[in-house]
């Protein structure tokens, strides 16, 4: 590996790396606007100029490849002066409307000005007047005055979606980003444009004017809306001690992972975050004789284990059924298998998933759940759901609210009425709530810990970012509690207390997860 000297520090960098990346890897940031890791260098913003010993001019860090013995200065007087120059040019024609700009707080131009600029404007002329609200797509609005023409958006549409919807129109100071007349950008990845825009030129009407970024907390998670498992960041409002929080989640952003989603997520995943807050189950209730009683989980678990025990005692194991879904984590599916099938000899394991959608050939798959591959690899012998089979049961554990999706309401009601005890573990309210005896709220992926196996067989761990506010508990804990309460394989279940522990057991037993 070539050794180079950056700011008098010896740095080893891989062959074929640009100076900018090599420096970044070494913890030396080099400011840039047009450069984006996902694209070949453009070299147009001129912000990343650095001094290389022996070369008369400043050189671009974004396009210069590392070479043995290069001596680079990223903070020399000459470099800082050049950065100031570029910032001065950009700000001369930039509306200073940060107070009403949604990008403020995460704007590269703003950040770099704080870091390298801090000069007084000497621009005495009139700024160019341009379109402030140019509609680019259903959700995106382009402010041409704020645009610094880094062309990241144009290159994204040329190189990633390959739809070539946008280009630069006109010349010189009149250059602007444009699209075909009367034809909006319409693809499943357009939301990425607002995310890669380094300034507030492209804003997302889904987020525009809703909050300020510095009020938001960002949590890492995995998108559960299809089986790709794109890495995401969920930006939410943590609330304020003296003000009621009107809304929790404000947006979902792509988190780079070169092995899964590069730097992108689809619009289906980006704008589909409403499920995190809407129609959530929050009360653990027991319905008995037309009365709803709020319970704590321990009490509910006691009643349920009692029921299981009596059925097992009467050798009526076949009258216990479990409905699962493929949004459960690897650990939860594994625990369900160990407890119900292997521990209690339950044979009626059903699967109720949301109906498949259409994949788009890039990131979005046709699955509408996150862990179909995990279900397959854990090896649960699930059956397709059959309303008739349900009617032969005395006890039914229903995980997920998807049961209501596949079966007609009347049939479902008829079938479930015959089942004596029904416990629903669901994150969301649904038509099932009225048909069951226990409703136990559970968290969604963003609110619990575990691993998911994506469509390509990649096992991705995640941790709870958002708080789970319901009465209930995560499914893995419920399953462990039931197993311990029932004293099924106590030696096996007793030491297990966390998803991490469960995963260790899972790894030992199923070769795929090694």
């Amino acid at each position: 590996m070539p050794k180079i000297l950056i700011d008098d520090r010896m740095v080893e960098a891989a062959e074929g790396l640009t100076l900018l990346r090599a420096a970044e890897n070494a913890g030396i940031p080099i400011p840039h606007f047009c450069y984006h890791t996902a694209f070949p260098p453009e070299g147009s913003c001129r912000m990343c100029l650095v001094e290389i010993e022996g070369l008369p001019k400043l050189e671009l860090a974004c396009s210069t490849m590392v070479k043995e013995g290069l001596k680079v200065q990223t903070m020399s007087a000459k470099v800082v002066e050049a950065r100031k120059g570029v910032l001065e040019f950009l700000l001369a024609e930039h509306p200073l409307d940060c107070p009403i700009c949604d990008k403020a707080g995460e704007c590269k131009l703003q950040d770099y000005f704080e870091e390298y600029g801090l000069f007084r404007s000497q621009f005495k002329e009139a700024k160019e007047k341009r379109e402030k609200k140019f509609k680019l797509s259903r959700n995106l609005i382009l402010d041409r005055e704020r645009c610094i023409l880094c062309t990241r958006c144009v290159r994204f549409l040329n190189e990633i979606t390959k739809t070539e919807d946008a280009g630069i129109l006109n010349r010189g100071i009149h250059s602007e980003v444009g699209i075909y007349e009367s034809e909006l950008i319409d693809n499943n990845y357009s939301g990425n444009l607002a995310q890669i825009c380094p300034v507030g030129a492209i804003t997302d009407s889904d987020f525009r004017f809703k909050t300020r970024v510095w009020f938001l907390e960002s949590d890492e998670s995995i998108c559960p809306l299809c089986s790709r498992g794109c890495n995401i960041a969920i930006d939410s409002h943590p609330g304020h001690p003296r003000a009621l929080r009107t809304r929790r989640v404000y947006r979902v952003r792509a988190r780079p992972n070169p092995d899964v989603n590069s730097h992108w997520i689809c619009d289906y995943g980006r704008y589909g975050y409403a499920y995190l807050d809407e129609a959530r189950q929050d009360r653990l209730v027991w319905k008995k004789g037309g009365l709803e009683t709020r319970l704590i989980w321990d009490k509910a678990a006691q009643i349920l284990t009692e029921k299981v025990r009596s059925l097992v005692h009467l050798r009526k194991n076949s009258r216990i059924g479990v409905v699962l879904h493929s949004n459960l984590t690897n650990e939860e599916l594994f625990l369900a298998d160990r407890l119900f099938r292997k521990g209690l000899g339950v044979e009626k394991l059903f699967l109720a998933d949301p109906p498949p959608g259409k994949g788009d050939g890039f990131l979005l798959t046709s699955d509408r759940t996150a862990n179909r591959r995990g279900l397959l690899e854990v090896g649960l012998p699930v059956q397709a759901l059959d309303a008739k089979a349900l009617s032969d049961l005395d006890l039914l554990f229903i995980f997920g609210h998807y049961l209501a999706d596949g079966t007609s309401a009347a049939n479902l009601k008829y079938a479930l009425e015959k089942v004596e005890t029904k416990a629903l573990f669901a994150s969301h309210k649904s038509g099932l709530d009225g048909l069951v005896d226990f409703v136990i709220p559970v968290p969604v992926i963003a609110e619990k810990n575990g691993t998911l196996t994506n469509v390509d067989g990649r096992v991705q761990p995640f941790v709870a970012g958002l708080d789970f506010n319901g009465d209930g508990l995560p499914e893995w804990r419920a399953l462990l509690d039931l197993a311990k309460e029932l004293k099924v394989e106590p030696k096996y279940f007793w030491p297990l207390a966390s998803p991490e522990g469960v995963y260790q057991a899972l790894r030992k037993e199923i070769p795929f997860f090694k």
Binding site: E42, K57, A82, F89, L90, K124, E128, R171
Partner: protein, 431 residues
């Protein structure tokens, strides 16, 4: 009063012995192939293709120290030598006939009077580098010249100088004319390539250089019209003869296009190293209507300006570089004392602000900002620190842009502000 059509060849007939490229300009119908051949035309193609190997041609051009006539002055032979020969991709030659530098009109005359000379040079260059497709990129405004070139190409095809198996030597070459759409930036070689590919004329990031990754991502040679027009003479007369025509490290003649306040504006083919004073006062007949010389732009508008005291220097790449200017396209713009330097500055800043392609930040916003300040100065609303501001902004453009056009804009503006600061300050309202 003495009035002549700009650039008439007759104006400098007395130095006929010195001339190479423009020697036969007076011959009636030279643009037709029979006439051109009657003057010895296309014999260099015969010599090169039949008696010389490509390597021998390349070697001769290298030895001749033929430096590019487009402006940068890069040795043509060296440029050809950069083209990789062992790649499976096709190679291309592009003739840069996008003569857009203000003050420059030499290529126009060359192509108009003697299009076959360019074709002949292009054929030999293609042979030397192993190229089978050549394009002539003509600036959009040169419509008549594009037609003339197309006529010449048709004639050349008909006479077996183009097409398959040229002169029975087995060498193939296809040639076509492509017209630009009137953007100055497309004279920059990589923007030219983009434009030729049918894209927006934006310069490319270098490296890679066109010699390795050029037109359609293939190795490409790009040469100016005048550069290529010299090739037949180098092949016919040898590198030593060519060097004797110019300077030891800078072979051949140069066509100087003189414009502005002189008695006989026009093109003058003279040996490299001819004194600027000689060009203005002898060849171009001196100042018009008894006016006084104030300044000279020696190499097209991008070249830093020279004051009247600085004209006693030989016109060659190195001498001009030595005084901080450049030979560029050898377009000499003569400015008299009655011309306001603010008008000159306005013309320069307006041109570059208008022609900046807008791709990179310093050039896009810098040229426009400078132009806004200059316009304000011209309105009589200048402020004390405006000239310093122009200098500061131009310095922030200089050396920091994606393509050479940033320097092309910054250098003349800087030189005007520095050399004529006192006069510019006279335009401030308080003065």
């Amino acid at each position: 009063m003495e009035r002549r059509s700009t650039g008439s060849w007759r104006a400098w007939n007395r130095t006929v012995d010195e001339k190479v490229l423009t020697r036969h300009f007076g011959v009636e119908g030279l643009f037709r192939i029979e006439v051109y051949r009657g003057q010895g035309g296309y014999s260099a193609v015969e010599t090169a293709l039949k008696k010389m190997t490509p390597a021998a041609v390349l070697d001769e051009v290298k030895r001749a120290c033929l430096r590019g006539r487009g402006g940068a002055g890069f040795p043509a032979g060296v440029k050809w030598g950069f083209v990789p020969q062992n790649v499976p991709k096709p190679r291309y030659l592009c003739v840069n006939a996008d003569e857009g530098e203000p003050g420059t009109f030499k290529d126009r005359y060359l192509m108009n009077h003697n299009p076959h000379l360019l074709l002949e040079g292009t054929i030999i260059a293609s042979y030397a580098v192993g190229i089978h497709s050549a394009y002539i990129y003509v600036r959009g405004e040169y419509e008549a010249i594009a037609l003339r070139l197309e006529g010449a190409i048709t004639e050349a095809y008909r006479n077996g100088y183009l097409g398959k198996n040229i002169l029975g030597t087995g060498f193939d070459l296809e040639m076509a004319v492509h017209r630009g759409a009137g953007a100055y930036i497309c004279g920059e070689e990589t923007a030219l390539l983009e434009s030729l590919e049918g894209k927006r004329g934006h310069p490319r990031l270098k490296p890679p250089f066109p010699a390795s990754v050029g037109l359609f991502q293939c190795p490409t040679v790009i040469n100016n019209v005048e550069t290529l027009s010299n090739i037949p003479f180098i092949v016919q007369n040898g590198a030593d003869w060519f060097l004797k025509k110019g300077l030891p490290k800078d072979g051949g003649t140069r066509i100087f296009g003189v414009s502005g306040m002189v008695k006989r504006p026009g093109i003058y083919e003279l040996p490299l190293g001819t004194k600027l004073r000689t060009i203005i006062f002898d060849h171009a007949g001196g100042m018009k209507d008894g006016k006084q010389l104030k300044a000279v732009i020696p190499g097209g508008m991008s070249a830093p300006i020279l004051t009247a005291d600085e004209i006693d220097l030989p016109m060659d790449f190195d001498s001009l570089a030595g005084v901080g200017s450049m030979l560029g396209s050898a377009a000499v713009i003569v400015i008299d004392r009655e011309t306001s330097i603010l008008d000159v500055l306005s013309a320069v800043s307006k041109f570059y602000s208008h022609e900046s392609c807008g791709q990179c930040t310093p050039c896009r916003i810098g040229t426009s900002w400078i132009n806004k300040i200059v316009k304000r100065l011209a309105r009589g609303e200048g402020e004390e620190d405006d000239i310093d501001a122009i200098i500061r902004l131009a310095s922030n453009i200089k050396g920091k842009t994606l393509c050479p056009l940033g320097d092309a804009a910054a250098l003349p503006i800087l030189s005007i502000c520095q050399k004529f600061r006192r006069e510019l300050e006279g335009y401030l309202p308080h003065a």
